[in-house]
Amino acid sequence: MSLYYVQKLLFQLNRDPRVRKRYEENLDSLLEEYELTAEERAAIRSPDIGLLYVMGVNGQLLMHYAALRGFEWDAYIEAMRAGERRYGPVRTGLYVRAGMSRP
């Protein structure tokens, strides 16, 4: 389980302009520094906001990553809903129950 490192990457991306610069210039080398699965790397790269949500990424991190990648507010919310439809309920973390409460 490397969800911790997915979140750590997004945490550092959100707060540190130097990490954002590396993200823009050489994403491969940045991703190498985090212990990520192939699925996680692909979800970050796409970006697949819905899959990141279903993986259990905290929304307080994810909403800024979505904004960075050009998702307006409604598109961000819809991307998470689409993620649940495509990948199923949230797998771990605080949102597990929220995922199960919707049809």
């Binding site: 959100n14 707060r15 904004a67 605080l94």
Partner: protein, 272 residues
Amino acid sequence: MSLVFAGALSHAPGITGRAARADPSLRDAFYANLDRMREALEAQRPEALVVIGAEHFANFFMNNMPSLCVGMADAYSGPIEDEAWLGIKRRKVPGAPELSQRLITEMMQDVDLAYAQEWQFDHGIMVPLHFLTPRYELPVVPVNINCQGPPLIPLARCWAFGRALRRACERAAERIAVVSTGGISHWPATPDSGKINEQWDREFLAKFLDNRRAELLAYSDEETHRDAGQGGFEIRTFVALAGCTEGSKAELWFYAPIPIFAVGCTVAVVRL
């Protein structure tokens, strides 16, 4: 006695960032009460403002997460978020390092604290400052309670922190204002954003306004998560303020669910 003002207010990023999308009558009534809170704060001529907030992974992360952290910096900066996204321009905010150090030293007699000489404010502190200190002249002492990454500090420890803060304020010569800022029930940044359990909020607020310690401390995290969402964990900020103002009742100046702000928007002021 140097605690001269105490109040509680919401801080959701939509309050400034998605202002244009809210019901204008509700939004303007909310803003009017935030303005009224600013006037009441200014009338007490505070020399420093303690903001008890619940930040959202701007500074504190699961690599080294403090339950309670108090700022001790000369100055802070914020918002850490995109300026256009939040609707607040980035700026420096003055700190009160010497006062911070005295408060921290005194509080450490009663509670374990982390301190920070570097801190980038997120919306959790910038939205309250935007309304309460729009000129950003009042020195700030930020406090963070981890309400994001469990395990979370128990509510009774938040009350004990508030009590310790009160004692420390009373030993300081400065005129100190304290505001707490957190949501009640809400499901922010999830597909359920905009969902608000108004009945739960009103029951919680009734206990807060009456400073009913036993009832405030009786909430379990399981119940809060079920009925008030993961955002409900931020009731820790209200509980800390209630501990800080133990024995005093508060007035509710405004409460209304504003779904596009993703929270029941609240303004409350304690009768000290």
